[in-house]
C-alpha cells in the first residue's frame, strides 16, 4: 500500500501535523511519499521522497493550484490514499482532489481498524466505521488523533508550478487584535459556553472566576454572539491553553474546543447533559444546571 501525504508549511515551518500523517502511514504499515508547497530547501524529518512545489511561485494558498499540483504527483506515484490533516487547509482541498481523482473521501479519521477507518459523528457521541467504495480514497485526519512520528531525512524533488487560477484572488491576512488578556499565562481559567443561555448570565460565571482568581474564557458561540470578546476564546480558532485548573461551564466539548484546553492539568466540567463529550476529558464532571450550581459554588468558595 502507498500513501501520498500532503503536509502544510505554515509561518515559516513545516507544521507538526505532517508528522501525524507520517504516524498514520506507519500505523497502516504503508509506504509513503509526501508533498508540500514550501521553500525548496525544506528538510522534513521523514524517510521517503518529498515533492516540493516552490511556494515563491505558487504564492499564497489557491485551492485549484494546490489541487492540480497534488494530482500531478498522484499521477506519478499512483498512491492508494492521499492523506491530509482535517484543518482549514485539508478540508478545503480534500473534496476538490477527491472529485478530480474520481475517489471517495473519508473526513476526520480518529482511528484505524482492520476493515476501515473510524470517524466521529454527532459531536463525538457516536462513531462510524467507514470504508472507501472506490479502490483509492482521499483521507483527512483529526488533528491530535495520531501521535507524531519524526524520523529520518527526506529526499526532496522539486516540481514545476505550471498551473494557475483566475477565479480566486488572495488579498491579504487579517489577524485578531489582542487586548490586555493573555489566557495562555493564566493559572486558572473559568470558561462560559452556550449553556449559559444569555448574555446576562455571563455574570454568574464571571463571579466564579473572580473568587478563584481566574481568567474568564469562552467557547466560540459565546464570542460569536458578542457576549465576550474574541481574545477570550479557547479552541482551534482561538487560544490554546494549559492552565492548572480549567472549569468549563455549559460547554459541550466539541473537538475544536477540546483541542484548545485538553492539556490542562485538571479539568472540571459543569453540564446538565451527562453524555456531553466534554466528559471524555473531565477529571470531575458535575451533572447540574449551571445557573443553579455555579452561584452555590461561588458562595461557598467566597466564604
Amino acid at each position: 500500500m502507498k500513501l501520498l501525504l500532503v503536509g502544510e508549511y505554515k509561518n515559516g515551518n513545516i507544521d507538526d501535523s505532517f508528522y501525524e500523517l507520517v504516524a498514520f502511514a506507519g500505523k497502516l504499515g504503508a509506504e509513503a511519499v509526501a508533498f508540500f508547497v514550501a521553500p525548496t530547501d525544506i528538510k522534513p524529518e521523514f524517510n521517503g521522497k518529498v515533492y516540493v512545489a516552490d511556494v515563491e511561485k505558487a504564492k499564497e494558498y489557491n485551492p485549484k493550484v494546490h489541487r492540480d499540483l497534488i494530482l500531478k504527483v498522484a499521477e506519478k506515484e499512483n498512491p492508494d490514499y492521499i492523506v491530509l490533516s482535517h484543518s482549514s487547509y485539508g478540508w478545503d482541498l480534500a473534496p476538490r482532489i477527491a472529485y478530480k481523482w474520481d475517489a471517495g473521501q473519508i473526513s476526520e479519521i480518529v482511528d484505524v481498524d482492520n476493515d476501515g477507518f473510524v470517524v466521529p459523528f454527532c459531536n463525538a457521541k457516536l462513531r462510524r466505521l467507514l470504508k472507501p467504495n472506490t479502490g483509492k480514497a482521499v483521507l483527512t485526519l483529526q488533528s491530535g488523533a495520531f501521535a507524531p512520528a519524526k524520523e529520518g531525512s527526506a529526499s526532496v524533488e522539486t516540481i514545476d508550478v505550471d498551473v494557475a487560477d483566475e477565479g480566486l484572488e488572495f488579498t491579504g491576512f487579517e489577524v485578531v487584535e489582542k487586548g490586555g488578556v493573555d489566557l495562555t499565562k493564566a493559572e486558572i481559567i473559568v470558561s462560559a459556553g452556550r449553556g449559559v443561555g444569555k448574555k446576562e448570565n455571563i455574570e454568574i460565571v464571571e463571579k466564579l472566576a473572580k473568587v478563584l482568581g481566574a481568567e474568564l474564557g469562552a467557547s466560540r458561540p459565546v464570542v460569536d454572539a458578542g457576549w465576550l470578546p474574541q481574545e477570550r476564546q479557547v479552541g482551534t480558532t482561538g487560544q490554546t491553553v494549559a492552565p492548572k485548573l480549567y472549569v468549563a461551564c455549559g460547554i459541550s466539548g466539541a473537538i475544536q474546543h477540546l483541542a484548545g484546553m485538553k492539556k490542562s492539568n485538571f479539568i472540571v466540567a459543569i453540564n446538565k447533559d451527562k453524555d456531553a463529550p466534554i466528559s471524555e476529558v473531565a477529571d470531575v464532571f458535575v451533572v447540574a444546571d449551571l445557573l443553579e450550581f455555579v452561584p452555590v459554588l461561588t458562595e461557598k468558595l467566597s466564604s
Partner: protein, 255 residues
C-alpha cells in the same frame, strides 16, 4: 441575481443518541430536529444580500424525508423566496458524494450565481458537500467564510484559518461559499413572515430524478465509543456536590 442555499435538517446535538437497529446510523425516533446551525448563517447571509440588492431570488433546497419541509419553511420565514424539497426517505447509505451529485444535478441548468452551503453538518461533519458541488459545476469555491460582501460582480470574503487568522479572498461569480459559525447574527422569523412562508412555493421532487451515481464511501457500522477517561461524576443536590467539588480541589492542592 439567482441564489441557492442548501440546508440540512439535523437532530439537536444535546439529544441522547443510540445506534439504529441496522447498526449503520443513529436511531431517528424521539429526536427533535432543526436546521443545521451552519446553514442558518447561509440563509441569513443570502437574505441580507437580497435586502441590499433587491433583485435577488433565493431558492432553498433540502434533501431528506418529509420532515425536512419544516427546515425549508423556516428558511422561507427568514426571507428565502421558494423551496425545493428533494424527497428521499431512503437517506440511508448516501455519502457526501451522492448528496453533492443530487444538488449539482438540480442546480446545473438553473444558472445560480451564488450557492451557499454550511461549512459542515452538525451530525456528520464531513465538510465535503459544498466544495464537491463547486467541482461538479465548475464553479469557484471558498470554504469556511466568516465575512461576506458582494461588489461589482465579485464577492469579497474572509476565510477562517486556525488561531484567529483569516485570509481575505476575492472570488468571481459563479461561486460556492461554505458558511462558518458566526458569519452573521441570524434573525428570528416574525409571525407575519411565518404566515407568509406558508404561501411561498415549495416544490417536491423525487430523488431518483437527480441521483445517478453509487456511493464512494460505505458505512460498515456505527457504534458508541468507549469512555476513555474515568473522571469523577458528581450528581445530586447543588449544595452537596459543591462541597464535594471543593474538597477534591483542596485535596489536589489546586485551590
Amino acid at each position: 441575481m439567482n441564489v441557492l442555499v442548501c440546508v440540512k435538517q439535523v437532530p439537536d446535538m444535546e439529544s441522547k443518541f443510540t445506534v439504529s437497529s441496522d447498526g449503520l446510523w443513529y436511531d431517528q425516533s424521539d429526536l427533535t430536529y432543526k436546521i443545521n446551525e451552519y446553514d442558518e448563517y447561509a440563509v441569513e447571509e443570502a437574505v441580507r444580500l437580497k435586502e441590499k440588492l433587491g433583485d435577488v431570488t433565493i431558492t432553498v433546497l433540502s434533501i431528506g424525508p418529509d420532515r425536512v419541509k419544516e427546515a425549508i419553511r423556516k428558511a422561507l420565514a427568514l426571507g428565502a423566496d421558494k423551496g425545493a424539497h428533494i424527497k428521499d426517505d431512503e437517506a440511508h447509505l448516501k455519502d457526501p458524494f451522492q448528496i453533492a451529485t443530487i444538488i449539482a444535478n438540480y442546480a446545473k441548468d438553473k444558472n445560480f450565481d451564488i450557492i451557499f452551503t454550511g461549512m459542515q453538518s452538525e451530525d456528520r461533519g464531513s465538510a465535503q458537500v459544498g466544495a464537491l458541488v463547486a467541482e461538479m459545476l465548475g464553479m469557484n469555491c471558498v470554504t469556511t467564510i466568516v465575512d461576506f460582501e458582494y461588489a461589482d460582480g465579485k464577492v469579497n470574503v474572509k476565510r477562517e484559518l486556525e488561531g484567529g487568522i483569516k485570509a481575505k479572498v476575492t472570488a468571481k461569480l459563479p461561486v460556492v461559499l461554505t458558511c462558518q459559525l458566526g458569519l452573521n447574527t441570524v434573525r428570528y422569523p416574525t409571525l407575519p413572515n411565518i404566515m407568509k412562508a406558508k404561501r411561498k412555493e415549495l416544490k417536491e421532487f423525487d430523488v431518483s430524478e437527480f441521483l445517478n451515481v453509487d456511493p464512494k464511501v460505505i458505512t460498515l457500522k456505527a457504534f458508541v465509543p468507549e469512555k476513555k477517561k474515568g473522571g469523577i461524576v458528581l450528581e445530586g443536590a447543588p449544595d452537596e456536590i459543591a462541597d464535594k467539588l471543593i474538597n477534591i480541589l483542596k485535596e489536589k492542592a489546586i485551590i
